[in-house]
Subunit: 394 residues, 2 copies
């Protein structure tokens, strides 16, 4: 396996990377007459501040980052978090003793926003698709009331565009996560056995990917069944793998805050004609995606190229709703590869190609690979799926 | 280590457990004239439906659960999720092809809510402290507009009270997660070495806890420094552990959807007088918490008992904001052990006791244990912390 792995990249980012991110946002803010933006969710907070902590796992306390029109972002955070900002490039950290349900940072956030948004009185917030506010809805209503003289506008479209183009350092982190994942699937190919449970198979892979250098593995699902599986978001279960089964494992590991996200399929005992054909169809579909993904093409072009192959192969449908998506600080990011998708691909975008189809009633076949858009086309970030379905014989 | 571990409990829950949960909520709804409640976040969705999937890691698609005044909850979910409901006790699953940014389930949710809330036209939602809505804020505004003839009221206080009292089956899952964690700390005591990095120490423990039966370990932080550490929410870093260091590791592992959450401290080479005294103080503080935690006592009583010990020991302060909290499906849950806290403890509540103090400028000492409130007092869910600080000698 080890020949699939390069050394892990350096952790963290150079200061200039954060300066560039903030400058891009401030440029978009200026174009929209927005004086300040606030963030409440982990990926955006980390992207613009460099603050990286597992403490977001605790839902109790809200955290806020305020980006003014000029200068460095300002952290508005619970007291417990202040010490963590010594490691960031931020200079101003405002805090309150939290938890304090009666006013958990809302007056402090409102005052900070009012202070830095006097010009146009327009404040950007993450309000649009694929976002949420990580704060009580009652507190957001309170914030809007406190800032009654200001207009709250959606900044999520700008933020997702900025985040979708990855820097060289970001790409290297994702590439490493992808290589660890590919090595994990290769390990599994050599260690899966008939009679194992799905859960045992996933645990084997989980342990191996941590040993190989993943920091964590927040997503590791499996589905299996005789001649096919009927979902790709549940499991693992205690179902024992038997001859005649198909198994899919889909996983996303994290390295230094960046994800991989792809899957692999295994047959047990032998593979029947229908599943072999389905495997070949999604493999060829991915080939079509790899061929077309390039700067200037759209997410709809990628979808069309992949779906044409599946349609010709007799696909009965696809209830995943898309065939791949952005990838980075989150397991799934904007954009989606959908029918008619009009997002134009740019160098530095990371995408998953995820052709999938129902090839018989209640039987799905899904492949997935992770790519980066380059100047001329795209590049796979890890070893390609096996050209034919691996069969676990014992 | 293995003598610290009992066998893992059975996964999942009996159907009657979900019926009881829903009945409790419907009782509270009736008392408030609420016709229907909707949930958008994973813990509540899982608590009232039994639907358990790692797919929540993907932020793209919203998921909704509607609980009517009578009868079973109704799932309103993306098509990709439908197959997963075969394993639940729900009978009605409504779905839409997602992602569909123009209407990602909002019209379907609005129609479903309108259909089941004709009597009082009052709809409960999670709006209060320690909650958030996992849906775009713009979509929530749209939902409120579509339901303009209805009143949206906060149901979070009722939900947190219901969830805070755990069933026997829930307690056994948490107990197992706690026992795995305690065994992980014991393993670390035998395997830590001077010269290891924090990251290596955490990885060792991570792997061991997965081997011992944890499903995942979403929280595993560390902090270290000469004679003390200055935070408990960052790390692990690549800092090498040296003689004279104190190391804290705080972790939460997950078993079948339920968390542990506690920490342990280790000295390297030798422990100086100040840190030894601080360790003894927080150990005695935890003893005071264990003694007082019982049905009828309040979270403020627990705080007071623990803080008195720390104050007498010369604590300079505590910037954690509380000394323990609820625990269960989330790493931290309501209630908090705070000064003046008036939440009355009940049998079945799971709490962490987490006394912590700054014992010298920039130096903290924090202990944590997990308990369940019993009929007469409380019970530790795992092996107690070592009475004196372990010293890693080589």
């Amino acid at each position: 396996m080890t020949d699939l792995l390069t050394a892990p990249p350096v952790r963290g980012f150079a200061r200039v990377e954060f300066e560039h991110r903030t400058a891009q946002l401030q440029q978009r803010m200026a174009a929209q007459n927005i004086d300040a933006v606030f963030f409440s969710t982990e990926p955006e907070f980390r992207y613009f501040s460099g603050f990286k902590s597992q403490f977001w796992e605790s839902p109790t306390r809200p955290w806020f980052l305020v980006v003014p029109a000029d200068g460095l972002p300002i952290a508005v955070v619970p007291e417990i978090g202040v010490a963590g900002f010594e490691q960031t490039c931020l200079e101003e950290v405002r805090s309150w003793p939290s938890p304090r349900p009666a006013d958990d940072g809302i007056s402090l956030l409102a005052n900070t926003l009012a202070e830095v948004s006097k010009r146009h009185r327009r404040i950007g917030a993450m309000l649009g698709p694929e976002t949420h506010l990580r704060m009580p809805a009652a507190n957001f209503a309170d914030l809007q009331q406190r800032l009654g003289q200001h207009q709250m506008v959606d900044i999520s479209l700008a933020v997702r565009e900025i985040r979708s183009v990855k820097s060289a350092a970001e790409i290297e982190k994702i590439r490493f996560a992808c290589q660890v994942t590919a090595a994990g699937f290769e390990y599994l190919r050599n260690h899966l056995r008939i009679g194992m449970t799905e859960r045992e198979a996933c645990k084997l892979m989980h342990l191996e990917m941590l040993r190989l250098g993943a920091d964590s593995c927040p997503y590791l699902i499996s589905a299996s069944g005789q001649g096919g599986y009927d979902n790709i978001i549940m499991g693992p279960t205690d179902r024992q793998l038997a001859a005649g089964d198909l198994l899919i494992i889909d996983t996303g590991v994290n390295f230094d805050g960046y994800f991989s996200d792809f899957d692999r399929n295994y047959a047990f005992g032998s593979a029947d004609q229908a599943s072999t054909s389905a495997y070949e169809a999604v493999y060829r579909s991915t080939e079509a995606g790899l061929e077309i993904a390039a700067p200037g093409r759209t997410t709809g072009d990628v979808w069309q190229a992949m779906w044409s192959v599946l349609e010709q192969a007799g696909a009965l449908g696809n209830d995943v709703g898309r065939m791949g998506h952005g990838l980075g600080m989150q397991l799934t990011e904007w954009p989606s590869n959908v029918e008619g998708g009009d997002v134009v691909l740019k160098p530095g975008m990371i995408l998953t190609l995820e052709p999938g189809m129902t090839f018989a009633p209640g039987k799905m076949m899904v492949h997935e690979e992770n790519i980066v858009i380059t100047e001329n086309g795209c590049e796979l970030l890890h070893q390609r799926a096996w050209e034919s379905m691996p069969v676990i014989e014992h």
